[in-house]
Structure formats: structure tokens, C-alpha cells
């Protein structure tokens, strides 16, 4: 039986997902779902998107085997190099799909939320390419720690608005983007950056990101002479890079799927089911259902919720969601740079940190890690931390 399926008509993955949005947005979500179904079944749309992904984003991304780290850890470590995509992360896969879809729907404007700025940069890029206007909401805390990406977005012609409400991070940027969308829904598409939000976003974003897993599965079969990796590891904030790479392995292999959450933002690890941002999913909340603030060194993972399909995969035991600490992440970030000459995004350093910690239990195993973004954006922050 297939686990990686379409959600139910109500947008549910098991008991998770749904469409908990203000009434104003219900018709917009329905319209988006219909437009996506239509486009996704249209060979012309798929062909145009694939052409952009190859000629503009640089797909397929390659695999890199990390011989130095692999030797010292006693495993075979293989990276899926989404960091080498145009704009520096996997976010471009989803954004090109959504921007093309928005254009097909006659929308002229994109709004987006961003944490680390990678999704904001990708959205600004797609808007520039396709001639759309773009506004990006970013928590004031993140504007501070990711100033380089803020300037990149502005260079690309996007308007960046710092969000000062609530915890002033990713969750509040989502709130503000939703408020914008409620007011501008006729001309605006909300270009959501992860496998979260109301139906059809979790499913649609997964479909746009599953190319990561499909490529990686085929590439691993070739590299491993027909075998599959034993572990597939990715970091999880909202969970789009993880859903992307898991998609290639959920049904077709028995690989253990590991989604690594930050200790301070462990929705699956510490959360209970709740409803925010349009979806029912695991959520960090207090005894009255107030959403708690996440605390992570990485702006991209600083989110108290998680995409509903991850909650589903956790609930049926098909994927596991361990946590790592900020200190483990800082060490892994430096280790990767020195041992392999690759500076990972702080988000991906979470996946690396878990691999380093668990390597003694994985001796001789093949571990595939999604390197979903590059670390250029984090160099300033690390310079301050490391002195």
C-alpha cells in the first residue's frame, strides 16, 4: 500500500492537515487547489516547469560522497546537493512551481513569509523572472540575524517588511503574510514556503519538492549499484526539504527516514496536536493552547509547528523526529567545513549533527543527507558566535 498519497478530499493526512482558515480565504484555497490539480495534470505546465528547473535552477542537483567524514565516522555519507541550486537552497523548486501556477491563475503579486531568508530570496527571484511584484514578511529578529538575505531580496526588487508582533520570528511572519493575503486575495498569491498551511499547500509543496527524492533515489541506485541508502536524513522546520527527499524513499525503500528538529523547536518531539496557520498538526503550545515560541540558532527552523504530513509519518512510525542542540549544530557546521570543504546552511547542520552523534550506531551503513542549503547566509552569525 502506498503511504505517499494524495491527502483526502478534506486535505487530511490521517488525522492531520485540513483547511482551518478565515472564511475569506476558503474560496481562494479551493481555487488554488483546482488550479494546481489542473496544472499538475497538464503536460505543457510540467514541461515548462521542468525546463525552468533545469535551465534556470540548475537541476538535477548532484550527489557528493563525503569520503573524509565517512572514513572518520565509519559510515558511507552521501549528500544530495540542493545547496548548489540557483539561490542556494531547495526553496527554488517550490517557488518556481508556485509562481508559474500563480501566473497561470492570473495573479500579479506574490506574498511570502521567510525565516532564514532562503524562501524569501527564492520568491523574490521567481517574481523578478516572471515579472510579478513580491512582498516578503520576515520576523524582526530574523531581519537582524539574516541581513545579507534581506539585502538580496531588495536587490531582486522585492519589498521586505519586518514583523514586530509576537515572537518576531517565522511564525509571526506567517501570520502577517496571511493577513496580507486576506486583504489582497483577488490579485495576490500566497507563495507559502513549506509543506504547511491550509490544504492544498502541504500536498502541493510536497509535489513541487518531490523531485529531490526522485532524483536522489535514482542517483543512489546508480552509485550503490542497485542498492538504497539505509538512512535518509534531513532537517525539519516546516519540513519541505525533508518531505522532498523522503518522497523518493517512503514507498520504494525500507530506508529509515530521519527528520531532525532543533531542541528548541521540536514540534513532533515536544508538541501535541493543535491548529494554527490553517492546519492541524503537532504544535508546541501551553496548557491553554497558546502557541509557544521556538528557540533555535537557525532562523529557518525557528518554528513551533511542523507540516501535517510529517505529523502523519511520525504517528504511523514511518519517519522519526529526533532533536539536536544548538551546540551540536555549531560543531557540525565547523566539522563539515573543515573535513569536506562545504559550508552548510545552519539548518542542514542539524542533520549533520544528528549523523555525527548517531554514527557509532550506524557503522558500515549508507547515510544519505539532504544538504538543502548553503551556509553563506550564516557566515556573519557564525563569525559572532565563534568570535
Amino acid at each position: 500500500m502506498s503511504i505517499l498519497d494524495e491527502p483526502s478530499l478534506e486535505g487530511r493526512f490521517g488525522e492531520f492537515g485540513g483547511r482551518f482558515v478565515p472564511e475569506t480565504l476558503v474560496p481562494a484555497c479551493q481555487e488554488l487547489e483546482a488550479a494546481f490539480r489542473d496544472a499538475w495534470a497538464d503536460p505543457t505546465f510540467r514541461g515548462d516547469l521542468n525546463q525552468l528547473l533545469s535551465e534556470y535552477a540548475g537541476r538535477p542537483s548532484m550527489l557528493t560522497e563525503c569520503h573524509n567524514l565517512g572514513r572518520s565516522l565509519g559510515i558511507r555519507l552521501i549528500l544530495k546537493r540542493e545547496d548548489l541550486n540557483h539561490t542556494g537552497s531547495h526553496k527554488i523548486n517550490n517557488v518556481l512551481g508556485q509562481a508559474m501556477l500563480a501566473k497561470r491563475m492570473g495573479k500579479t503579486r506574490l506574498v511570502a513569509e521567510t525565516g532564514a531568508g532562503q524562501h524569501g530570496v527564492a520568491s523574490a527571484t521567481a517574481a523578478a523572472l516572471l515579472g510579478m511584484s513580491c512582498k516578503v514578511y520576515m520576523g524582526a529578529v530574523d531581519v537582524e540575524r539574516q541581513s545579507l538575505n534581506v539585502f538580496r531580496m531588495k536587490l531582486l526588487g522585492a519589498e521586505v517588511e519586518a514583523v514586530h508582533s509576537g515572537s518576531r520570528t517565522l511564525k509571526d511572519a506567517v501570520n502577517e503574510a496571511m493577513r496580507d493575503w486576506v486583504a489582497t486575495v483577488s490579485e495576490t498569491h500566497y507563495c507559502l514556503g513549506s509543506v504547511m498551511g491550509p490544504h492544498p499547500y502541504p500536498w502541493m509543496v510536497r509535489e513541487f519538492q518531490r523531485i529531490i527524492g526522485e532524483e536522489a533515489h535514482a542517483q543512489c541506485r546508480e552509485l550503490l549499484h542497485g542498492d538504497d541508502p539505509d538512512f535518509v536524513v534531513a532537517c525539519v522546520g516546516g519540513g519541505s526539504n525533508a518531505m522532498g527527499i523522503f518522497s523518493g524513499f517512503i514507498d520504494t525503500t525500507t530506508a529509515r527516514l530521519i527528520g531532525v528538529e532543533p531542541a528548541g523547536g521540536a514540534a513532533v518531539g515536544r508538541g501535541v496536536p493543535g491548529v494554527v496557520h490553517g492546519m492541524r498538526s503537532y504544535l508546541m503550545q501551553d496548557e491553554y493552547g497558546q502557541v509557544q515560541e521556538a528557540h533555535s540558532i537557525s532562523a529557518g527552523l525557528d518554528y513551533p509547528g511542523v507540516g501535517p504530513e510529517h505529523s502523519y509519518l511520525a504517528s504511523i512510525g514511518r519517519a522519526e523526529y529526533p532533536t539536536v542542540t544548538d551546540d551540536e549544530v555549531i560543531s557540525a557546521f565547523q566539522l563539515m567545513a573543515r573535513a569536506e570543504g562545504i559550508i552548510p546552511a545552519l539548518e542542514c547542520a542539524h542533520a549533520m549533527a544528528w549523523i555525527v552523534r548517531e554514527a557509532p550506531k550506524m557503522q558500515g551503513k549508507v547515510v544519505l543527507m539532504n544538504l538543502s542549503g548553503r551556509g553563506d547566509k550564516d557566515v556573519g552569525q557564525m563569525m559572532e558566535i565563534l568570535g
Binding site: E10, F20, T24, P27, G166, V182, Y288, G289, Q290, V291
Partner: protein
């Protein structure tokens, strides 16, 4: 069918030619109980009590700030219910709360908490028709009236279905956007109220973006009444409960035709 307390009163008042006025007050905000008493004395027909939530996506800056102030002061749904019980204002009370507050407490338990606090109705702005089944079942069983929202974006065939599920009254969202004060009443406010009046006899009240007495009067030319949120909450934060009473009296006068 038999109606709950709020809908029974609203229908009777409407049939007597009275326009319905529902001020919104953020629960737990300094002076909130006095503000509710002042509003009731000044001619409100029901009160909407906002339950502060960490992520109020349908609210603009004023109600966001009020919610944050209340949360920072340690206000919880339970503390609001305890204080609401003491109100005894003689008009029905409704809560406006985001769905996670209900979901986290549990549907049956939350409905029971409302009943115990003397609250008649619930307005849940992020619980659209398609997701409302489990809560509405629990609310119906407990005798809590669930007010549904209709928005200007809804196609014609959606409106009767929303109206059919609404209890107490039907909340006609005045504009595309979040709560907050605007310079003028959006054209969509009266347009949607008109569309709703054509398909239902449930009382239709316009809320979101009805910002002063003149706009309330304009909305009431078509609708059965108005909900006033940000303009009330701002007065409570700036001028205290007396300012709320004066304002409600001003609006009441303006919608008395």
C-alpha cells in the same frame, strides 16, 4: 426549530424595528468588565468577548495589541470565564476565539466551560464551514450558539449553506481584510449584507471595518445590526470604560432610525 437565547432575543428585537449593536471587548484587558457593563447600559444588545490568542490572524494592530497586553498580564481563557460569570449584564454574551483554544481544551469541555460562565454563543474566525462539524456538534448539544462568518469572496451558492449552519446571528464580514478602523465603510460591506439578507432570515450583522457611528448607520441601512471591535477596544485602551460607554451610546443613537 427553536432558537437559543441570543437568536431569540435578536429576532424579537429586529422584528420590533431595533437595529442590533454588538460591541467587542478583549477579555482580560484592564477595565474590560466595567467596559462591558458600560456598553450594556448604553444600549448594546450583546457583547462579544475576545479570548486573547498568541496568533490572531484575523486581527489588525489594535486588537493584536490588546490581546498581547492581556496575555502579558497572564490572562487565560479560564480566568476570563471566571470573571465573565460575575458580569450579569442582562444581555447575551458571546466569545470570539481562535479554534486552537477550543481544540486544545476539547470540544465538549470548552462548550461546558462556556455554559458554566453564562456565555451563550461562540464566534470562531478560523473555523470555516467545512471544518466546523465536530465543534458545532458539541456546541449544539450544550446549547451554545455558533455564529458563522460569511465573506465577500464567497460565491452565491456558498452563502445559504453558511447561513443554514449559523446560530445566534450571521456575521457578515465587511471587507477583504483583518479587523481595524478604516476611513470609510467598504462597498463590500453593504453588498454582502444585501446578498445575505436575500437568502436567510437569520439576523445579519456586519463586522470588520465598521469604524464609527456614521459607518454603523450606513451598514444598518441594509443589515440588521453591526459588530464594533477595534473602535471599541481602542477607546478602552485610550480612555477607559467610560469612553466605551459614551461611544456605544453614540452608535446606538446613530442606528436608531
Amino acid at each position: 426549530m427553536s432558537f437559543g437565547r441570543m437568536e431569540t432575543e435578536f429576532r424579537a428585537k429586529r422584528d420590533q424595528g431595533r437595529k442590533l449593536l454588538v460591541p467587542y471587548v478583549t477579555g482580560g484587558l484592564t477595565g474590560w468588565q466595567q467596559a462591558i457593563r458600560a456598553a450594556a447600559d448604553a444600549g448594546a444588545d450583546a457583547i462579544e468577548i475576545g479570548i486573547p490568542f498568541s496568533d490572531p490572524v484575523m486581527d489588525g494592530p489594535i486588537i493584536q495589541e490588546a490581546s498581547q497586553r492581556a496575555l502579558d498580564a497572564g490572562v487565560t481563557p479560564v480566568s476570563i470565564f471566571e470573571e465573565a460569570r460575575e458580569l450579569e449584564v442582562g444581555i447575551p454574551l458571546a466569545v470570539m476565539c481562535y479554534y486552537n483554544t477550543i481544540h486544545h481544551a476539547g470540544h465538549e469541555r470548552f462548550a461546558y466551560q462556556l455554559v458554566s460562565a453564562g456565555i451563550s454563543a461562540a464566534i470562531v474566525p478560523d473555523l470555516p464551514l467545512e471544518e466546523s462539524g465536530p465543534w458545532c456538534a458539541a456546541a449544539d448539544a450544550a446549547g451554545i450558539e455558533t455564529v458563522m462568518l460569511a465573506a465577500p469572496t464567497a460565491p452565491d451558492d456558498r452563502l445559504p449553506r453558511i447561513a443554514a449552519r449559523s446560530r445566534g446571528f450571521l456575521y457578515s464580514v465587511g471587507l477583504l481584510g483583518v479587523t481595524g478602523e478604516r476611513n470609510s465603510l467598504a462597498a463590500s460591506a453593504t453588498a454582502l449584507a444585501k446578498r445575505l439578507k436575500a437568502v436567510t432570515d437569520v439576523p445579519v450583522l456586519v463586522g470588520v471595518g465598521v469604524s464609527n457611528a456614521a459607518q454603523a448607520r450606513e451598514a444598518c441601512l441594509v443589515a440588521d445590526g453591526v459588530i464594533q471591535g477595534a473602535s471599541v477596544v481602542r477607546r478602552l485602551m485610550d480612555g477607559g470604560p467610560e469612553a466605551v460607554g459614551e461611544y456605544v451610546a453614540e452608535v446606538r443613537a446613530a442606528i436608531t432610525f
